[in-house]
C-alpha cells in the first residue's frame, strides 16, 4: 500500500461504477443475455377474478411435441411462493382456488415465440365461478391488524376546543421500472438450478426457489443481472418469475427465458396499496395538539405478499412528524379479488403521511393559523417521543429542513394567463431508515470484505444495484475506511453462491445498515493488515445496539434506528379550462445525515419526488371486473420531462452516529412529501380541497365546478 493517504472518496460525486457501461449501451440486462439453446417461457393466467379451476385440457389436435407444459402437479417442492404467509400458490392447482384474474395456472415453454403463442391458444381451462370482492367496503377477509396507542384518546371531546375530522383516499400506483420483470433459468449439474434475473433481493428468490423446487442451499443459485430499476416492484415479485422459469427449465431439461412484456408486467405485477385513511384530531384554540385518532385501511389485493409489513410502516408513520401526547392508530389490511399489492418505494408511509400532512392543513385552516406555524409548534424535536413511544435522541432534522426549504423558495408570482391559477403548498415528513422494529436484529445481515494478494479489496454482499448507487457507495465507504484509493476496491457479483446474505435491498437500509457493515469490516481489516498479510477475509454481521428496544406485540418502542426528514414546497398551476395541474417548481430540503455521494443523493431525491408528483396528479389505475384498465404504456401515464417541475434539492447534513460517516437512508423519503404539498397548493390556488389522489383533471374540474362534493369534512 502506498504511504500517502489517497483523496477521500466519501462525500465526493465520483463516477458511478456501472455508469459508463450503461451510458455506452454495453450493459446487458436479463433479456440481453444470450443463453445457448434456451427456450422461451410463457405464463397462462386466469381470466376470471374468483372461482375454482375445474379442468385444464390440452387440445389433442395440436402437436405438443415441441412444447413443455408445467402445471401445479410438476412442482417438486411446496406449491407456495415463500414470503410472509403461505397463501400464494406458485400455480393454481386443479380444483384450486382462483383469487384474482392474473392468477398463474400453467406455464409453457417452446423453442420459438410463435409456437409458444400458438400453444397458448390450444389450452382450455374450465372454471367454477364465485362472487368476487373488489372494494374495501365489501371486503371481509383481513390480512392483519395493528393498534398503536400512546396516552389516551378521548371518546368524549367536551374539554377539547376543536376537533377536525377528515377522510383521505389514495390510489394504486405502478412502479414502472424501465426494465420489465424477467428471469432466465439454467439447469446445472447435480440437480442445481441457476436463475439470472432482474431483481432486488437475491436471497428472497433463493429461499423461494429452494422451497418450491425442493432444492438445497447449494442447488439454488441466484444471480442478479444488471437491473433496470425496481422501486420495490422487484422486491417480492421476482420470486414468482424465477420459480416459474426454474420449473420450466427443470422439465424442459434446458435453459428457459421468461421475460414479461410491458402489458403483462402492468397487468399482473404488484402495485402500491390503495387505501382509506380517517383522521380525528383534537386541538386547543392556540393550536396545541391534544390527540390524534387515526384509522387506516389498505387494500392488499388477493394475497398477503408483504402487506403486513407495508401497513406496519404505514401505521407507524401515520401521526406524521409531530409530537402528540395522545395517539391511537388502528390499521387493517383487507383482501380483495384484485392482483396482489406489494412493495413500492415508501412502503405504506406515503399513504399515511399524505393524510397526516393534509390534516395539519385542515386544522390550521380551522384555527385560522398558518400551517407552517402549526408545524413548528407540533414538530418532533430531540427528546420528544413518537407515536410508538420512541424517544428521539439524535439527528432530528425537522426544523433544519423546514428552515432550509423556506429560505430557498422564491416568492410566488401570479400567472399571466387568465385561465391559470397559481398556488403553493408545503409538507414536512419523516421516514424511518432501515427495517421496522426488530427486522434488522432478526435478519442479521452479513457482508464480507477480502484483502486479495494483488493488493486489491473485494466487497461481498447480496445488496443490489438498482440504479440507486449501491456499487459506487460501498466502494467509497470501503476505500475511505481502509485508507486506500477507490480503484483498489472491487465488488463481487450479486450471486448467492458467492456472497453472504446482507439482506434485501429495500427499506432505505442499504447505504445506512449494510454500508455501515462495509465501513466496520474495512476498519477491522485495516487493523488486521498491520499484523497479517493477504489473503484475508473479514465478515461483519449486524448487531442490534443494546439501547434499542422494540415490542412487536404492543407496537411500543424504537420503531426505526433513526429517521430522515424532508420539507417540500411545491408551486402549481391549475388550468381552470381543463382542471389540469402542472407542478412548476419543487424545492425539497432533506436531512440525509451525510451525503455519501451528493450527485446520486440528489438524483434519488429528484427521481422520488417526480414519482410522487405522478402519484399525486396523473398516475391512475382504474379497476374493472377485477383487472386493471390502465395496463399499457398508452394508458398508464407517468410524467414526461415536459410535465416535470424544476426541482431544487437542498441536502442538509445532520449526522447520525451509527450511520456510515453519519449517513441515513433516504431512498424512500422523497416519495412522502410531494403529494400532500401538491394538494395543499391546489387549495391555495383555487380554494378547493381534494382529499383524494391522484388529483386527476377530472376530479379537479369537478371540484372547481362544484359538480361533486369532494370535501368531506365533519367539523364539530
Amino acid at each position: 500500500m502506498s504511504s500517502t493517504t489517497p483523496q477521500p472518496a466519501v462525500g465526493r460525486s465520483v463516477p458511478r461504477r456501472e455508469g459508463a457501461d450503461k451510458v455506452a449501451g454495453r450493459t446487458r440486462y436479463t433479456d440481453d443475455i444470450a443463453v445457448q439453446g434456451a427456450w422461451y417461457g410463457k405464463t397462462v393466467r386466469s381470466t376470471l377474478p374468483k372461482g375454482r379451476v375445474r379442468s385444464i385440457a390440452l387440445d389433442p389436435a395440436f402437436d405438443w411435441g415441441r412444447v413443455v407444459v408445467v402445471t401445479a402437479d410438476d412442482i417438486p417442492g411446496e406449491n407456495v411462493v415463500h414470503l410472509i404467509r403461505d397463501d400464494q400458490p406458485v400455480l393454481a392447482p386443479n380444483e384450486g382456488e382462483i383469487r384474482h384474474r392474473e392468477e398463474p395456472i400453467l406455464l409453457l415453454a417452446a423453442p420459438d415465440r410463435a409456437l409458444l403463442d400458438d400453444a397458448a391458444h390450444h389450452i382450455r381451462i374450465e372454471y367454477e365461478t364465485a362472487e368476487p370482492v373488489y372494494t374495501l367496503d365489501q371486503a371481509t377477509e383481513v390480512f392483519s391488524t395493528i393498534e398503536i396507542r400512546k396516552g389516551e384518546v378521548p371518546e368524549d371531546v367536551e374539554d377539547v376546543e376543536a376537533v377536525v375530522e377528515r377522510t383521505f383516499q389514495v390510489g394504486l400506483q405502478e412502479q414502472l421500472y424501465i426494465e420489465p420483470q424477467g428471469a432466465i433459468a439454467i439447469p446445472e449439474p447435480d440437480g442445481a438450478i441457476k436463475v439470472i434475473g432482474s431483481l432486488q433481493c437475491p436471497y428472497y428468490v433463493h429461499r423461494a426457489l429452494k422451497r418450491a423446487l425442493n432444492l438445497t442451499d447449494e442447488q439454488a443459485i441466484v444471480v442478479q443481472a444488471e437491473t433496470g430499476g425496481g422501486f420495490g416492484g422487484k422486491e417480492e415479485y421476482p420470486s414468482i418469475v424465477a420459480i416459474h422459469a426454474a420449473l420450466l427449465a427443470r422439465k424442459a431439461g434446458r435453459p428457459v427465458r421468461l421475460i414479461y412484456d410491458r402489458h403483462e408486467d402492468l397487468a399482473a405485477t404488484t402495485k402500491r396499496h390503495p387505501g382509506v385513511i380517517r383522521h380525528r384530531t383534537g386541538v386547543k384554540k392556540d393550536g396545541t395538539l391534544l390527540f390524534q385518532d387515526i384509522e387506516i385501511v389498505l387494500d392488499g389485493g388477493a394475497y398477503c405478499t408483504l402487506t403486513p409489513v407495508v401497513f406496519s410502516r404505514a401505521a407507524i408513520h401515520a401521526a406524521g412528524a409531530y409530537s402528540c401526547p395522545n395517539v391511537r392508530i388502528q390499521a387493517r389490511a383487507a383482501a380483495t379479488n384484485t392482483p396482489p399489492n406489494g412493495a413500492f418505494r415508501g412502503f405504506g408511509a406515503p399513504q399515511s403521511l399524505f393524510a397526516a400532512e393534509l390534516m395539519v392543513e385542515h386544522v390550521a385552516e380551522r384555527l385560522g393559523m398558518s400551517s407552517v406555524d402549526l408545524r413548528r409548534k407540533w414538530m418532533l424535536r430531540v427528546g420528544d417521543t413518537t407515536a410508538t413511544g420512541q424517544k428521539l435522541t439524535e439527528s432530528v432534522g425537522s426544523e433544519l429542513v423546514l428552515d432550509a426549504a423556506l429560505k430557498a423558495a422564491s416568492t410566488v408570482q401570479p400567472s399571466n394567463r387568465p385561465t391559470v391559477r397559481r398556488g403553493r403548498g408545503l409538507s414536512l415528513v419523516f421516514h424511518g431508515s432501515g427495517f421496522t422494529g426488530s427486522g434488522e436484529k432478526k435478519l442479521q445481515g452479513t457482508i464480507a470484505l477480502e484483502a486479495l494478494p494483488d493488493g486489491t479489496f473485494r466487497i461481498l454482499t447480496a445488496s443490489t444495484e438498482i440504479g440507486q448507487g449501491t456499487k459506487t457507495i460501498f466502494c467509497q465507504l470501503a476505500a475511505d475506511a481502509l485508507g486506500v484509493g477507490l480503484d483498489q476496491v472491487v465488488l463481487a457479483p450479486q450471486d448467492t453462491s458467492l456472497v453472504p446474505d446482507s439482506g434485501p435491498t429495500v427499506a432505505s437500509r442499504t447505504a445506512m445498515i449494510v454500508g455501515r457493515l462495509v465501513q466496520d469490516a474495512a476498519t477491522a481489516l485495516k487493523q488486521r493488515l498491520k499484523r497479517e498479510a493477504p489473503p484475508l477475509r473479514v465478515e461483519k454481521a449486524y448487531i442490534q445496539p443494546d439501547s434499542v428496544h422494540w415490542d412487536e406485540t404492543t407496537y411500543r418502542g424504537d420503531a426505526y434506528p433513526v429517521y430522515a426528514w424532508a420539507c417540500t414546497i411545491v408551486d402549481v398551476d391549475v388550468d381552470t379550462t381543463t382542471g389540469e395541474v402542472h407542478v412548476t417548481d419543487l424545492v425539497t430540503a432533506v436531512d440525509c445525515g451525510k451525503a455519501l455521494h451528493p450527485v446520486m443523493a440528489e438524483g434519488q431525491i429528484e427521481g422520488g419526488s417526480l414519482q410522487a408528483v405522478g402519484w399525486a396528479t396523473i398516475e391512475e389505475i382504474k379497476v374493472k371486473d377485477g383487472g386493471y384498465q390502465n395496463d399499457r404504456l398508452a394508458t398508464y401515464l407517468i410524467p414526461t420531462a415536459l410535465d416535470a417541475p424544476r426541482i431544487r434539492t437542498i441536502l442538509v447534513e445532520n449526522p447520525y452516529s451509527r450511520g456510515p460517516f453519519g449517513a441515513k437512508g433516504i431512498g424512500e423519503l422523497p416519495m412522502d412529501g410531494p403529494a400532500p404539498a401538491i394538494i395543499a397548493a391546489i387549495h391555495d390556488a383555487t380554494g378547493v380541497w381534494l382529499d383524494e389522489i391522484p388529483a386527476t383533471p377530472e376530479k379537479v374540474l369537478a371540484a372547481l365546478n362544484g359538480t361533486r362534493e369532494t370535501g368531506n369534512g365533519k367539523q364539530s
Partner: protein, 266 residues
C-alpha cells in the same frame, strides 16, 4: 400467426397497380398504428399483405399547388413541422403535429396514416376538418367532411389509396389538445376552430372526429357564447379508460370558450 406478403412499390403508378391487384392488402406508411395493432393482434381481419408506401416520391413533401397547400400522404409529422409552407399556411396543423407522440413517432407518423386509421382521437383530424381539407386519392377528391363514416370507418373504397391532402389557403384556425400529460398522450378532447367561415371540429368526443353543427350555426351568427352552449348537444362523449363523458363535455365547452375568447359563464 401467418405469413404476410411485403410489397414495396417504387412509384405511385406501381403502388396503385399492386394495391388494386392484391387481396387483403393494407397500406403501410410509418407503421405507428399498423405495427402496434399487428403486434397486439388487434387488426381484424389480419392482412395477408402490406403495401409499403413510405418511400414513394409522389406521396412525400409539402408544397403549394393550385392555390392550396398540398401535403403528401406519406409525409411525416416531422416533415410538416419543418416545412416553411406548413408554418405559413397551416400553422394549426403544425401545432397538432407537435402534440403527436414522441419525436420517434413524429418521424414516422404520416397524415395519410392518421386519416386511414380514422381514430376519433386522431390529433390532425379536427384540424383538417376546420380547414375544409380535401383528401386526394388515386381516383378522386373527397371533401374531409364526407371522409369519416363511422367508428374507424372511412369513405375509401377497399382498393383506394390516399395520395395527398389539400388545404385551402388563408384560413385562421385555432387548435388545442387536452391530454393527460404535456406530451405523448392520446387526447381526451382535441379541437380546431375557425371563426370565418365558422368551423368547430372536435376529436375524442364521439365515434368520429366531428364538426359541431349547432355550435357552428351559432358562431356563423357571431354568437360565441351561444356556440359554447350549443356544442354540448353536438357531441356524444363516452366514459373510457382515458376520461369521462362528463369531463369531456365540460372541457369541450371550456376549450371552445377559450379558443373563441368568449366571455366566461355568468
Amino acid at each position: 400467426m401467418h405469413d404476410v406478403t411485403y410489397l414495396r412499390p417504387t412509384d405511385l403508378k406501381d403502388a396503385v397497380r399492386l394495391y388494386r391487384s392484391t387481396p387483403e392488402c393494407r397500406p403501410l406508411a410509418g407503421g405507428t398504428d399498423l405495427m402496434v395493432m399487428l403486434h397486439a393482434g388487434t387488426f381484424r381481419p389480419a392482412p395477408r399483405a402490406v403495401l409499403d408506401v413510405w418511400s414513394i416520391p409522389e406521396l412525400k413533401g409539402v408544397r403549394r399547388t393550385q392555390g392550396m397547400l398540398e401535403i403528401g400522404a406519406a409525409e411525416s409529422y416531422t416533415g410538416m413541422i419543418r416545412s416553411r409552407d406548413a408554418h405559413e399556411h397551416a400553422p394549426a396543423l403544425v401545432a397538432a403535429a407537435r402534440t403527436i407522440g414522441a419525436a420517434q413517432i413524429q418521424n414516422r407518423g404520416t397524415l395519410g396514416g392518421n386519416l386511414a386509421n380514422a381514430s376519433p382521437a386522431g390529433d390532425t383530424l379536427p384540424v383538417l376538418l376546420a380547414y375544409d381539407a380535401v383528401v386526394v386519392t388515386d381516383r378522386r377528391a373527397i371533401p374531409i367532411d364526407q371522409f369519416f363514416t363511422g367508428y374507424r370507418r372511412t369513405a375509401l373504397q377497399p382498393d383506394e389509396l390516399i395520395v395527398a391532402v389539400r388545404i385551402p389557403l388563408g384560413r385562421h384556425v385555432a387548435f388545442r389538445k387536452v391530454g393527460t400529460r404535456a406530451a405523448q398522450a392520446i387526447s381526451k378532447v382535441v379541437m380546431a376552430v375557425s371563426r370565418s367561415p365558422a368551423r368547430v371540429a372536435i376529436g375524442s368526443v364521439a365515434e368520429v372526429p366531428l364538426r359541431a353543427a349547432r355550435a357552428e350555426a351559432a358562431l356563423a351568427r357571431n354568437d360565441a357564447a351561444g356556440a359554447v352552449g350549443a356544442v354540448a348537444d353536438d357531441i356524444r362523449p363516452i366514459n373510457d379508460v382515458r376520461s369521462t363523458a362528463a369531463y369531456r363535455r365540460a372541457v369541450t365547452q371550456n376549450v371552445l370558450r377559450e379558443l373563441l375568447h368568449a366571455p366566461p359563464r355568468p
